[in-house]
């Protein structure tokens, strides 16, 4: 791996000569721009980046990143990425995936990557629809949603990707939105700084098959009423006039309270993403399903004290080599009881 000082990288260094083939107006363009803006500043040589994807619109991502890239098969990007990272822990491996790729066909690999804490960054582009196959409902589509495959409404209840990741005890879990470029870049930088598995749900619009997928959060007027910005060490406050907050109830649950009339910010929950246990982040992760609650954006969990899987597995190899000495092939072939024929 390269260690000498290099001229600083720029966004241009991460752009390829391939024509980007997402639909005009797709949220993926914004995500691509944010990633290309963040990568040059990470202090990592370009040749050490590997972008791995599965199948779906989002999974075209590697073709547009001038790094090492692997467009694999549907759902399997986390497993391919694990193999890369275990073999070469120095590599900076990012997975680009979608709600179908990561949560339907590849759900198993997603949760196992996270529980092992493989040092891979997973960007889940969540547009709540199957785009590449032209409009069927996805595992994050709303209950009763009418789509091509559910003309009478979807009978499925959706996954909450953040809850799922926290449930798998992912050590870094965050949520951002395609068009909130500054927020998205900050979130990506925080993910990049995390050593263990990092899972970022990026709410993304599909202007062809699911336009307005996140309109409650992205419309200028609605935004501040419906979004709760998570900031480390700050109380959970939201609302156009920053006059609402999240308070702990005596039973451990949370409630929305109106500030004023004796209720002050000091009564509110103070955000702590670094808590070693995942239960607090889990409580935050699905509040938006309840009436009157906002949707949190930002870093839910960033607890980086768990060793990375690839370090554990490679250290084990090093330890055993140190203990037993590097393997001697002749000795191995002759192991156990042997006899001579003259």
């Amino acid at each position: 791996m390269t260690t000498t000082a290099l001229p600083p990288l720029t966004k241009k260094d991460f752009q390829t000569d391939q024509e980007v083939r997402w639909c005009p107006g797709c949220g993926d363009y914004a995500i691509l721009a944010a990633v290309q803006a963040v990568f040059p500043d990470l202090g990592i040589p370009r040749e050490n980046f590997v972008v791995v994807s599965g199948i779906g619109c989002s999974s075209r991502f590697p073709y547009y990143m001038n790094t090492f890239g692997f467009h694999t098969i549907h759902g399997r990007a986390p497993a391919v990425a694990s193999g890369i990272k275990i073999t070469h822990p120095e590599l900076e491996v990012w997975v680009a995936t979608g709600d179908g790729d990561a949560l339907a066909i590849g759900g198993n690999h997603t949760i196992h990557l996270l529980r092992r804490n493989v040092g891979v960054k997973v960007l889940l582009f969540n547009n709540r629809i199957y785009g590449l196959t032209k409009g069927q409902y996805s595992p994050t589509s709303e209950f009763h949603k009418v789509t091509k495959s559910t003309p009478y409404g979807s009978p499925d209840r959706p996954f909450n990707p953040v809850s799922l990741a926290i449930g798998a005890e992912a050590t870094f879990v965050a949520r951002s939105v395609d068009i909130f470029q500054a927020h998205l870049k900050d979130t990506l930088k925080a993910a990049a700084a995390h050593q263990g598995s990092a899972f970022v749900e990026i709410l993304q619009n599909c202007n062809i098959f699911n336009d307005g997928a996140w309109i409650d959060l992205t419309e200028k007027d609605a935004r501040s009423e419906h979004v709760l910005q998570l900031e480390q060490g700050k109380p959970l406050v939201f609302g156009k006039n920053r006059d609402k907050g999240i308070r702990r109830k005596n039973d451990g649950d949370i409630e929305v309270v109106q500030l004023g009339n004796g209720v002050t910010e000091s009564d509110l929950v103070v955000h702590d993403a670094h808590h070693p246990r995942a239960s607090y982040a889990f409580l935050l992760s699905h509040m938006e399903h309840r009436p009157g609650f906002p949707t949190p954006l930002g870093v839910f969990r960033a607890w980086d004290s768990l060793p990375r899987y690839e370090d554990v597995i490679n250290e084990q190899v090093r330890d055993i080599i140190a203990k037993k000495g590097a393997g001697d092939l002749n000795q191995l072939l002759r192991a156990g009881d042997t006899w001579e024929v003259k």
């Binding site: 399997r76 694990s82 890369i84 393997g327």
Partner: protein, 619 residues
Amino acid sequence: MSTLMDVPAGKTKREVIEQAVIRFAGDSGDGMQITGSQFTNTVALYGNDIATFPDYPAEIRAPAGTEPGVSGFQLNFSSAEVHTPGDAIDVLIAMNPAALKVNIADLKANGILIVNSDSFKEGDLRKARLTTNPLEDHSLDKFRVFPVELQRLTRSALQHLGLDAKAMDRCKNFFALGMCYWLYNRSTEPTVRWIDDKFKKKPLLAEANKLAMKAGYSYCEATEAFQISYEIPPAQLSPGSYRNLSGNQALALGFVTAARKSGLRLFLGSYPITPASDILHELSQYKNFDVLTFQAEDEIAAITSSIGASYAGALALTTTSGPGMALKTEALGLAVMTELPLVICDIQRGGPSTGLPTKTEQADLLQAMFGRNSEAPIPVLAPSTPGDCFWIAVEACRIALKYMVPVIILSDGYLANGAEPWRIPKEQEIPEIPVKFATDPEGFMPYKRNPDTLARPWAVPGTKGLEHRIGGLEKQDVSGNINYEPLNHENMVRIRAAKIDAIVQDIPNVLPAGDPEGELLIVSWGSTYGAITQSVKSQRAKGRRIGHLHLRNLNPLPANVGDVLKRYRKILIAELNMGQLRWMLRAKYLVDAAGLNKIQGRPFKQAELDQKIEEMLGL
């Protein structure tokens, strides 16, 4: 402890014989596999040629004493060359009525039957669904029956150790083993060493097992129960150092060797499945050879993590059996498309679906050949014997790395668990496997091919200036860019096929064993090698003009197969399936070949082959 030296000469008759087949049978909890392996190891160390057949149920513990719970271990050991575990058995050790019932049909007339008479009570008979006691109803009159109170005798030998009854009873297999050592004049020393090592941390259990074995040995000596003991002199194997090796162990050693010879890290992505799991167990012990073993969340992650490791520059492999192979299908296509080196071991078992997990079959050949969407050719290799698994593993890695392709190894349950003496090669006897990673950005193109091998460059992440994208979409040759043009697709399909076909120049022609031309050619592949070799030998000894063509390379087939087929009047293809190789050879060479097909989860018996051969010769 007793050793060979202690055997009192003269008290009983000692007869020198050439060969014997012994089978240990009992409940799956009776330790029959350990007993069999120990006896095998001891006779192999002594210098006999051997072939083994462990046969155990899929259930970990089927109800005790019932027929489905019977576990068996058969060993053929000889002073001459041995190719099979043997059709019929000379000595049967039956630990209970169910074991007796299931196995007695294979015991030769006048064969020795040792039974644990303590387990022939009414309840035991009922569990085995027997209405009369075979020890009393004269159904065993044509055998030499030796009822031994294994339980009582073992307990009385161990009573002073203070173990509970259950723990003492667990040692009775070593009592039986001690008897067999006496019967065949073999030293108990290798097993004593094994017990000491195995029970290092439980000295009391080590003592108990050793005492039980000694008691069994002494029982024969003192009671003169058998009145005769046997001596099988060492076999004349070619000179060298030998060890006893099973097929799965041999594959594991082969992969470590190939990693060393290619200078690469070894990566195994695997999901446990019978009968392949032992390769994972073996390799996970060899971490001091820089071996990475990854027990994945499923069969798909097992292969796709290996593809990732290969992309990152490791010698990557994945191990499985038929059902897992089915799950890996799509990923195999990805490996074909991205032209990455990868070795896939399919340790075949009876199918379809879950089928017969612990029984052997050769019915995944067409799956290995064609079981992917679209045109996705993959080289296929098959080992012939447990020891050959080592060489096939090395060869599969060589082909994968030289041609940048996935390679499938088709072993099976019989090879995986069966063992034979293996001549240990010296490290220097095994050729190096040269590997060259792309490093020069000047003119680098991900699909620019080596004109000789058609292999694309292996450009590993972390290499400056070689950033590029690969994937499952069709690509333009040379540049590797996505390309959907009709003529480009046809060109790429043909290149991928031509690359596999060209490997034929790099594999040896096959020589038929036996007659180079004649009445009948038997064609086979995989684990049937031993049985067919034995049968062809005995048929030729009777003056019949027969050849035997055994294929280790199934895709591509060796260049001269077509020529060999023409030199015989009739062709018989013997396989443990419905005729899959026959299907392939008929299609490729337009030959009229007959089949001998057995689909019982069991290997061929020599008698079955002899009968078919004689039928085809009109005898």
